[in-house]
């Protein structure tokens, strides 16, 4: 059954009000923690390290009081692509290039198809990483209001201001981009309903029939882009009308404050990240 509401249902970037420790953390601390853990994630290829990191991410979700099902429901639309990619990786990428201490077993070698245990490991580890990154991105955006996130980013970029990095502008672009996601998603839902009402085949192709789905998408993409341009132009006028003149000398409504708990959280995650990166080759499997 087609469900138009799902088009609007994007889990990453959706702030869910709450009062957990993670919600109360300073956005700068949260961004640092997420960066550190993402770094640790991307350099570890062993099963054990990834299991540990996955467990850590699940623990963070618990601490943030978000439901795991909610976070994972955001993966659902991308599932066909993930599966297709994984299958291709498994079938053609048997090269034992993954640094694993396990012996490489060749399962199948037939023409271009080359399946080995190391290829399998690569696929499984990639999947785990994908889920981990989804979780980290969700935790960051689900527990932090957009404005706070942008202010945090701006503060963290400020030191680079001397090198000519326009911190305020970058954070403004960031906040605008994220703010447009739900607006465009809602517009997409409305368009899908309008086009379906006049006979378009939206959703009728089913999740697995890419070609029909892609063709049906055309009647959505064109008006969606036109609408995005229209909104962007309106935004320019609105900003001009309010005398927006760049970041120089702007003050804020929200003052961010780092507490000792934020410091401890950063310290723990930094130690963990360094440990995972330092010992990445020492995991037994």
């Amino acid at each position: 059954m087609q469900d138009f509401a799902l088009l609007r249902h994007i889990t990453i970037g959706q702030y869910l009000p709450g009062d957990s420790f993670v919600h109360r953390m300073d956005p700068r601390a949260k961004i640092t923690v997420v960066l550190l853990l993402s770094l640790a994630l991307t350099v570890n290829t062993s099963y054990l390290a990834n299991i540990l990191l996955l467990a850590l991410c699940l623990g963070l979700i618990r601490a943030a009081g978000i439901s795991l099902r909610y976070v994972l429901s955001g993966v659902r639309p991308a599932l066909p692509f993930i599966i297709a990619l994984s299958l291709m990786q498994l079938a053609f990428y048997g090269n034992p290039s993954v640094t694993s201490r396990l012996p490489v077993i060749t399962f199948l070698r037939w023409g271009p198809i080359f399946i080995t245990s190391s290829g399998l490991q690569l696929v499984l580890v990639s999947l785990a990483r994908f889920v981990d990154l989804m979780i980290l991105a969700s935790i960051l955006t689900n527990t932090t209001p957009l404005a706070h996130l942008a202010y945090g980013l701006e503060d963290m970029l400020k030191p680079f201001g001397r090198l000519g990095v326009p911190a305020q502008e970058i954070s403004l672009i960031f906040i605008l981009a994220l703010r447009f996601v739900p607006i465009l998603a809602e517009q997409l839902e409305t368009l899908a309903k309008a086009q379906a009402s006049r006979g378009a085949d939206i959703g009728a192709g089913g999740r697995w029939r890419f070609w029909r789905t892609a063709r049906a998408m055309l009647v959505l993409i064109v008006p969606l882009f036109l609408d995005a341009f229209r909104r962007a132009e309106e935004l320019i006028v609105a900003m001009e009308a309010r005398c927006y003149a760049g970041g120089r000398g702007r003050t804020r409504l929200v003052q961010l404050r780092m507490g000792w708990a934020d410091g401890i959280a950063i310290l723990i995650c930094a130690l963990l990240a360094v440990g995972f990166i330092w010992f990445r080759k020492s995991f037994p499997f």
């Binding site: 059954m1 138009f4 509401a5 249902h9 959706q14 869910l16 978000i66 439901s67 099902r69 909610y70 429901s73 517009q187 409305t190 368009l191 309903k193 309008a194 086009q195 379906a196 009402s197 006049r198 006979g199 378009a200 085949d201 009728a204 055309l218 009647v219 959505l220 064109v222 008006p223 036109l226 609408d227 229209r230």
Partner: protein
């Protein structure tokens, strides 16, 4: 008594159930629409009007208790032919001009009939008919690029795109919002003609009470996901307290008649059509 063309019984609906963002939109709404009528639907923002109407052509499906029966078919049945249903019940949304995607006017209007696999001659006939109904001259406009049209013309094209499917029921969900007064009058005349000449059943959602009073034969008032009032426009608009508590207001004629009665003049509070109100005013002025 004849069967209603659309019958909605005790319908409940929740958006994104089971997520932190769930929102209850309908709490037992019921509505009946008979073939050939024009039904008005009014209610404050968030009352669930759009949610209710999107059930009528299967954009939303009943998932909780409640029934939507269109032309004798229960839409809770997963085997319902959505294509046939959507051809029968057409919805024009707010700002329909934003849904155009083809380069040329004619192609955009022909989209629906083409999807249904009709012959070229039939498609042409329908496009011509739809353009005539919305007041666009076929020869002048059919090969114009949609990008070169004014906002009002684009809206006409979008509405023609829905009409080209020749639906039996036309749902106008705030479709006239933002039209200038002259265009609005023209538009109301077109809706009335569609209803009278083509026998099209029409459901109008509008925040413009004058429009509801001018078009509808029967009005439903909705609030917080259910119906709170129903009747002829004259009856519904006489319930001043209810309308005020919902922040809806009345048509000017209804307000004038109510105010005159409050001040002790003997006028008919149900004479809310402009000509009738004028008659009433003349009568008390003469006496």
């Amino acid at each position: 008594m004849t069967e209603p063309l659309i019958a909605i019984r005790d319908l409940h609906y929740t958006y994104l159930p089971g997520t932190p963002l769930q929102a209850v939109a309908l709490r037992g709404a019921s509505m009946e629409v008979y073939a050939g009528e024009i039904v008005g639907l009014i209610g404050p923002a968030g009352a669930g009007k759009s949610t209710l109407l999107q059930h009528c052509n299967g954009l939303l499906r009943p998932t909780e208790p409640g029934h939507v029966i269109v032309d004798g078919q229960d839409l809770a049945d997963p085997t319902v032919d959505l294509r046939r249903l959507r051809q029968m019940v057409g919805i024009v949304f707010q700002h329909p001009e934003r849904q155009l995607f083809e380069t040329l006017v004619g192609d955009d209007i022909a989209f629906g009939p083409r999807q249904l696999g009709m012959s070229r001659a039939e498609i042409r006939r329908r496009v011509e008919w739809a353009m005539r109904v919305v007041g666009l001259d076929f020869d002048t406009f059919v090969d114009r690029p949609t990008a070169a049209l004014s906002g009002g013309e684009r809206r006409k094209v979008a509405i023609a795109g829905v009409l080209a499917l020749r639906p039996r029921v036309l749902i106008l969900d705030e479709a006239s919002a933002g039209l200038d007064p002259l265009t609005r009058e023209e538009w109301q005349e077109q809706v009335r003609r569609l209803n009278a000449d083509e026998g099209m059943t029409v459901i109008v959602v509008s925040s413009d009470m004058e429009e509801i009073a001018a078009l509808a034969g029967r009005v439903y008032v909705m609030a917080e996901g259910r119906m709170v009032d129903e009747g002829t426009p004259a009856e519904v608009f006489a319930h001043t307290d209810l309308l005020n508590s919902l922040g809806l207001g009345q048509p000017v004629t209804s307000w004038v008649l109510g105010e005159l009665r409050r001040r002790g003049y003997d006028v008919d509070p149900y004479a809310i059509r402009l000509e009738e109100t004028v008659e009433e005013l003349c009568r008390i002025l003469r006496s």
